[in-house]
């Protein structure tokens, strides 16, 4: 009987320890993941904005006025050849 009680206590402690450890690990994992996702989403959002900005300017081109100067707006903040992997 003592053996059973001892084993039950040890098991309970071990299970509680396991649960705490796993919940901490899950929490850390979620935080890291959320941060990374946020970074990726920000990068996508910035890129979308740049694409829209370029497209809107190109839409301003008037076949009558030939206003290419106004349509071709360079976005100097875009560093060419930079990879998303650098995030």
């Amino acid at each position: 009987m003592i053996f059973q009680i001892a084993i039950t206590i040890v098991l309970s402690i071990a299970v509680i320890g396991l649960l705490v450890w796993f919940f901490n690990a899950k929490d850390t994992l979620s935080k890291t993941h959320n941060h990374y996702i946020l970074t990726l989403e920000n990068a996508i959002s910035i890129t979308r904005f740049q694409l829209n900005f370029r497209n809107e300017n190109l839409n301003r081109y008037d076949f009558q006025k030939y206003n290419l100067e106004e349509a071709l707006v360079v976005q100097p903040e875009i560093i060419l050849m930079e990879s998303y992997n650098d995030i």
Binding site: L29, F63, I78
Partner: protein, 659 residues
């Protein structure tokens, strides 16, 4: 009893050397050392010395033990107190004072248990087992030995359990249960083999031989005795060797191989005499030898040993029990020789010897013993039942513990597995999401960078080539101005070059735009055409009608090049109408129609764009078309379609583009 005592001594101290001649001297010097040592060591020496004196000078042992116990109590050294009280119990047990022995054993047990001295506890429990065994209380003895075994297995070295297994086996042997005895003797043997103590291995093999003989398994018993003899020889344990030899000889007499028994017994007797090892045991061997010889028909040899036996009895007159066996064997030998006179004489000696043993007092004792035997027989049966029950309970307990442990381990592993699975699942889903986003980002960034790169190249083209073309136009215009009054064909040519350069700039701009713009919707194109029409209407008195059929989906898309070509065709056609036809109305329509596919019977839906003016028209055959119409055709070709111009003088012109 002798084997019991030897086990008892071995377990308690394992010091057989104490019984040698030099032991007395050793004890004296040990006593001197004890007097100069500290209390703890002194008490341990007292214990060893007093144990020696129990068997040699009991009174001195008692005095030393009382002194030691008092000192241990005064100095508060419970370990020594427990040890000395236990030895005091042995003193009383050896003295035959059972009640006192039991009291002191139990007191020693109480002290050692209270202080958790496992070594002393197990020793005292064993002594209590021996105490009950000696009294014939097999049940109590077994209980104590099983307790000692349990403590040894759980708290002390498992390898020390051999003695308890052996003792339990001996009890079962005495109880006439060779099957059970063998079980425990084998356990003891296994442990002893593991330890490598050959002396104890030989003892266990001898015990197994005896049990197997009781079981009438003579073949296996012979093997066991032979191995016991061989092992005892290896370690020069002659006492064990001759015990095993006698056992083997008795076995041979029982199974009728008398010659073998004779050889063994003769050797055993000679060697005991030669080495002077327990020579008293030779009388029993002589009795067996007489039986073997007489049963084998060698009556003269039997008579020789009868004489030797008589000589032995002169030397050791106290061997009354063995004498009964000897006289009986001699009587049988003479009867076989048909010497009835001698046979009767020895028979009478047998009876006389029995009478001397079984005197009135002995008879009473025998009666007591018989009663005790009957009681112990019942106890034995009870003990067997309880031992079986205890074993079953132990097995059930062990099984339960195993099942509980297995379930616990399974639960733990299950929870661990579940948690690992959940975490892995979470990781996978996170990785999947991250991977999707990374792929999307990579795609959109690549697209963005490509577009930006294209835009920057376009910008460079526009800035460099555009400005250079502008410079050319400006230079040509300056040249024209400078050549005022020159030949007409030169200025016309220069004008055409300037116009061509201007056209090139416009086309370059359109191309650059189309290169950067991926597509253009119908809606956007419609808005741009409407704007163009509005400007044209403002610059002329012409009525414009612009219609987009409902079949044309508003959210349909053209590529930017297609969109640009459509726009330029419409622009060129409208400009031509305004420039040459002097129309009142210009109608523009965009629709989508089904066109048959040649040879298939099916059809395909294509765009149809119509520009109609109600101007003066022209004769297609007599007219020479300029760059405008050529451009329209080229652009229609680029769209993968066809353009048709229908015109009659005075009936207006229709330009129809199908693609």
């Amino acid at each position: 009893m002798k084997s019991v005592l030897s086990v008892f001594l071995f377990l308690t101290f394992g010091l057989s050397t104490l019984f040698s001649q030099s032991a007395a001297k050793k004890m004296d010097s040990l006593m001197q050392v004890a007097e100069t040592s500290n209390d703890s060591i002194k008490l341990r020496h007292y214990n060893r010395i007093s144990f020696y004196y129990i068997f040699n000078e009991p009174e001195r042992a008692k005095k030393l033990l009382v002194q030691g116990i008092a000192l241990s109590q005064k100095k508060k050294i419970p370990f020594s107190e427990a040890e000395l009280v236990n030895t005091y119990g042995i003193y009383y047990d050896v003295s035959g004072k059972s009640d006192s022995a039991k009291y002191y054993f139990e007191r020693a047990l109480s002290i050692s248990k209270k202080n958790n001295y496992e070594i002393i506890t197990v020793m005292v429990i064993n002594n209590l087992g021996m105490f009950h065994w000696n009294k014939g209380n097999y049940q109590e003895a077994l209980d104590y030995f099983f307790q000692a075994l349990e403590i040894n297995k759980s708290k002390l070295s498992k390898s020390a359990a051999d003695t308890y297994y052996s003792n339990i086996g001996l009890i079962y042997q005495e109880m006439g249960l060779p099957e059970k005895a063998l079980e425990y003797h084998n356990e003891a043997l296994q442990i002893r083999r593991g330890i490598g103590n050959k002396k104890d291995v030989a003892i266990s093999l001898n015990n197994i031989g005896v049990s197997l003989t009781l079981k009438k398994n003579y073949k296996e018993a012979e093997k066991s005795f032979l191995e016991a003899i061989k092992t005892a020889k290896e370690v020069n344990e002659f006492g064990i060797l001759y015990s095993a030899s006698n056992g083997l000889a008795e076995l041979y007499i029982l199974n009728g191989t008398h010659q073998k028994a004779i050889h063994i017994l003769e050797t055993s007797i000679k060697e005991r005499d030669r080495l002077n090892i327990d020579r008293r045991s030779n009388l029993s061997a002589i009795a067996n030898l007489i039986i073997a010889y007489s049963r084998n028909g060698q009556l003269n040899a039997a008579k020789n040993y009868i004489e030797k036996g008589n000589a032995f009895l002169v030397e050791f007159p106290e061997l009354k029990v063995s004498a009964v066996d000897f006289y009986s064997a001699a009587s049988q030998a003479y009867f076989r020789d048909k010497n009835y006179k001698e046979g009767n004489a020895y028979f009478e000696k047998t009876l006389a010897a029995k009478d001397s043993i079984f005197s009135t007092e002995n008879a009473e004792k025998t009666a007591d013993l018989e009663t005790k035997f009957k009681v112990s027989e019942n106890e034995r049966n009870l003990a067997e039942t309880r031992a079986n029950l205890a074993e079953t309970q132990l097995e059930v307990k062990q099984k339960n513990i195993f099942i509980f442990g297995a379930i616990t381990a399974a639960i733990f592993l299950g929870i661990l597995g579940f948690l690992v699975y959940r975490q892995q699942k979470l990781k996978n889903s996170q990785l999947q999401k991250e991977s999707q986003l990374k792929t999307a980002l990579a795609k959109i960034e690549t697209q963005n960078e490509l577009q930006e790169q294209r835009l920057r190249i376009s910008r460079d083209l526009h800035d460099n080539i555009g400005s250079q073309l502008t410079f050319i136009i400006s230079s040509i215009d300056n040249l024209k101005f400078g050549l005022e009054g020159a030949a007409n064909n030169v200025t016309t040519k220069l004008g055409k070059i300037s116009e061509f350069a201007s056209q090139t700039i416009y086309e370059l701009r359109d191309t650059i735009w189309a290169m950067n713009k991926t597509d253009i919707s119908i809606e956007d194109l419609q808005v741009r055409i409407s704007n163009f029409i509005e400007k044209a209407r403002a610059a002329s008195d012409v009525n414009f009608h612009f219609n987009v059929n409902k079949d044309v989906l508003i959210d349909a898309h053209f590529t930017s090049v297609e969109g640009m070509n459509i726009y330029r065709i419409i622009q060129e056609a409208v400009n031509n109408a305004l420039k040459y036809a002097e129309p009142k109305n210009i109608e523009l329509s965009i629709e989508k129609d089904a066109f048959p596919i040649e040879g298939t019977g099916g059809d395909i839906r294509k765009y149809r764009i119509k520009i109609y003016d109600d101007g003066k028209g022209f004769n297609l055959e007599n007219s020479s078309f300029g760059n405008g119409i050529a451009n329209i055709k080229k652009r229609a070709n680029d769209l993968g379609g066809k353009v048709e111009i229908i015109s009659k003088e005075g009936k207006g012109t229709t330009v129809e583009l199908v693609f």
